[in-house]
């Protein structure tokens, strides 16, 4: 049994699984990150993913084009963050409260809409929806090991990693990215430098909404071909947690999202054997992240005690 676990852990398929599982979590993570950069803690990712997952399928059904579906999903993502922006910036509501309310009622709202459109409350199974496919990359796909990982993945997985790189460039290399970060680091300083902080925050929220939406769209329109009630299942929260772990470091963010994916994949291995009580299998990714985070912070604590201070 142990040997079978090991052989799975080091198999190619395992890596491919991680890449697939990572996509929505990475989307959620960069969605949280970009909002955090401008000083907004967006914890509504889970609800945005849910809305977008549904909206994209409905959009694809109504228009007959998967890409229009994607636009639909993104549109709903933007509408949701604009709702947050409206209530928190224009109406003076506590942003956190609005976001928690969104999360709390997201499933009900999604099902309500699903019901209005399809008369069902479970899935969009009754709708014919064009979906996005996967891409074979001509030459790479024939390379023995690399080909399996790099080729044949879903369209949005590629988009995800392209965005990861572009976003890095945007945040750290472009003027807008720098202004956006300034808003998060010291809003007053940004404001006095002539930056419209509110506008920057709305921009970062919109990006956040788009990325989170893509995470949801991936689930319903690319990875699977259907919207299914409750399908986001905490993957948005994993993105939020990854951002919490990153402490503002982009590559640690991505790494954290990958760790979630890795341990989700590990939990899959354990779900089909009796090594760990089944009740605890689902807790594996959370346990792993909890352990890593705790150990890192303890190590840091003793570093500071010994007089090592990170330059800010």
């Amino acid at each position: 049994m142990l040997s079978s676990i090991f052989s799975t852990l080091f198999s190619m398929r395992f890596l491919v699984t991680i890449v697939r599982l990572a996509t929505p979590i990475v989307f959620a993570a960069i969605g949280t990150f970009i909002a955090a950069q401008s000083g907004i803690g967006n914890i509504a990712i889970e609800s945005i993913m849910t809305f977008a997952a549904l909206a994209s399928v409905l959009g694809s059904y109504l228009s007959g084009s998967a890409w229009v579906g994607v636009l639909f999903g993104i549109g709903i993502g933007i509408v949701t963050v604009m709702l947050i922006a409206f209530f928190s910036m224009k109406m003076g509501a506590n942003a956190m409260l609005i976001m928690i309310a969104l999360n709390t009622f997201a499933d009900a709202v999604a099902i309500f809409v699903l019901y209005l459109v399809t008369g069902e409350k479970g899935t969009t199974a009754s709708l014919t929806t064009p979906v996005l496919g996967s891409i074979d990359i001509p030459i790479i796909k024939d390379i023995p090991i690399l080909g399996e990982i790099l080729s044949g993945q879903y369209v949005l997985t590629y988009l995800c990693w392209i965005i990861v790189i572009l976003l890095f460039i945007f945040i750290y290399k472009t003027p807008t990215g720098m202004r956006l970060r300034a808003c998060g680091l010291n809003a007053d300083a940004a404001r006095t430098a002539g930056i419209n902080v509110e506008k920057m925050r709305v921009l970062s929220l919109v990006l956040s909404g788009i990325f989170a939406a893509l995470g949801g769209i991936y689930l319903s329109l690319n990875y699977l071909k259907i919207f299914s009630r409750g399908m986001v299942s905490g993957q948005g929260w994993m993105g939020v947690a990854a951002n919490g772990i990153s402490a503002g470091n982009y590559w640690i963010l991505i790494l954290s999202a990958l760790i979630f994916a890795i341990f989700r994949a590990v939990s899959i291995i354990f779900s089909s054997n009796s090594a760990i009580p089944t009740d605890l299998v689902n807790a594996i990714p959370y346990l792993a992240v909890f352990a890593i985070l705790t150990i890192v912070s303890i190590v840091n604590y003793y570093r500071v005690k010994r007089g090592h201070v990170e330059e800010q």
Binding site: M1, S4, T8, S11, R13, T17, R20, L21, P24, A108, I111, L114, E120, K121, G122, T123, A125, S126, L127, T128, T129, L219, Y223, L224, K225, I226, S228, R229, G230, M231, S233, G234, Q235, R264, A265, I268, I269, S271, S272, N273, S274, A275, T278, D279, V281, N282
Partner: protein, 361 residues
């Protein structure tokens, strides 16, 4: 084959309480629609009854959308539907809610109740104003196991079970039994969720990697992930659950439909519709206070034998299956039922052995 339980007392003469205006009114309490499993089956059956021209109306109430299972909430709902005697029949069921149902039976002795899926029989017996049924999923699993065994090419099959609970395991106790007996290897996976479709897909992928080529899903919405994973492989069959999932996807998503050889039908709607009809006809008295198992013989469970299934199975397979079916119906084979055969201690002691049978880890 019926398993009859003697009623605790002689059934009270219970008459439908509502005004006899010729319309039979039925209230069905389910937690919510959209579980893509048997609550949907129940609601679907109710809709069918409504649609038919039969002087029966069925109101379906979604009482617990968040699945909090709070007794107080359910009792409120029983109060809602029972206190004004508006309904001739009140329907509820499932192991999670049947306690509440039985309490309501006690509180409203003049009201007629129906439990469409019981997990256990109370010590005091089934209340005299209630009829309880159960679809025999152990037999269903046995049948699926038989089919899987006869069509697998690799000698390995698999099943994805949403949660590791006794009533979910009831589905696979017969499955494990027959596969072990036939020396077919099987993979059992408990992803621990009924909704996380992504997990369903990856779990299935891992199963396929272990060589499984016939994969059954008993996992609600998560099962969509299972179907999707199977559809990516030409040589892997998926077996659906609860409803005829081939028919469900045939028009809208042929790619998925074409991987669903058949579905393991848990026809909860069959006893429901039957009993509603009895109530409408007024000849339900002898069912009261009873708990009955609706197995293969009563069409409580079965495999979906649609055109696709017919086209993709050969005569020999179907004949083999008919044989198995007969042996179950005539009692030649005792299908192990981990839920109703065993008490807690027996379950704890014997289930791991049964599960481990020919399992591949």
């Amino acid at each position: 084959k019926k398993e009859e339980t003697p009623a605790a007392d002689t059934p009270a003469e219970t008459t439908p309480a509502a005004e006899d205006d010729g319309v039979t009114k039925v209230a069905v309490l389910i937690p919510h629609r959209g579980d893509q499993s048997y609550f949907d089956t129940i609601a679907g059956a109710a809709d069918e009854v409504n649609a038919a021209d039969n002087n029966i109306t069925v109101d379906v109430f979604e009482c617990d959308p968040n699945g909090e299972k709070a007794e107080a909430n359910w009792m409120n709902w029983f109060d809602n539907v029972c206190e004004d005697h508006q309904y001739d029949l009140v329907v509820c069921g499932n192991g999670d809610y049947e306690d509440f149902l039985y309490k309501a039976c006690e509180k409203y002795p003049d009201q007629l109740f129906f439990n469409y899926d019981y997990d256990y029989i109370p010590e005091s017996g089934i209340p005299a104003n209630c009829y309880s049924t159960k679809c025999n999923t152990a037999e269903l699993g046995y049948l699926v196991g038989a089919l899987s065994a006869s069509i697998t090419k690799t000698g390995t099959v698999g099943v994805v079970v949403g949660m590791d609970t006794q009533s979910m395991n009831q589905f696979i106790s017969g499955y494990c039994q027959i596969l072990t007996a036939n020396d077919v290897k099987y993979v059992v996976s408990y992803p621990g969720s009924f909704s996380d479709t992504a997990l369903g897909k990856e779990v299935t992928d891992a199963m396929i990697a272990k060589g499984a080529d016939v994969i059954w899903q008993v996992a609600g919405g998560l099962g969509n992930g299972v179907i999707d994973a199977c559809s990516a492989h030409d040589d892997v069959w998926c077996i659906g659950v609860d409803q005829d999932q081939y028919m469900q996807f045939k028009d809208t998503n042929p790619e998925w439909a074409n991987t669903i050889l058949t579905s393991a039908l848990k026809n909860t709607g069959v006893p429901l519709k039957a009993f509603i009809q009895m109530v409408a006809d007024g000849n339900y008295q002898d069912k009261l206070g009873k708990a009955e198992m609706w197995g293969i013989a009563l069409d409580g469970v079965g495999l979906a034998e649609n055109d696709f299934y017919m086209a993709n199975t050969d005569e020999a397979t179907r004949a083999k299956l008919a044989e198995v079916l007969a042996s179950v119906v005539n009692g030649e084979v005792k299908v192990i039922d981990c839920l109703t055969d065993w008490n807690a201690d027996e379950y704890a002691a014997q289930w791991p052995t049964l599960l481990a049978g020919n399992r591949v880890e």
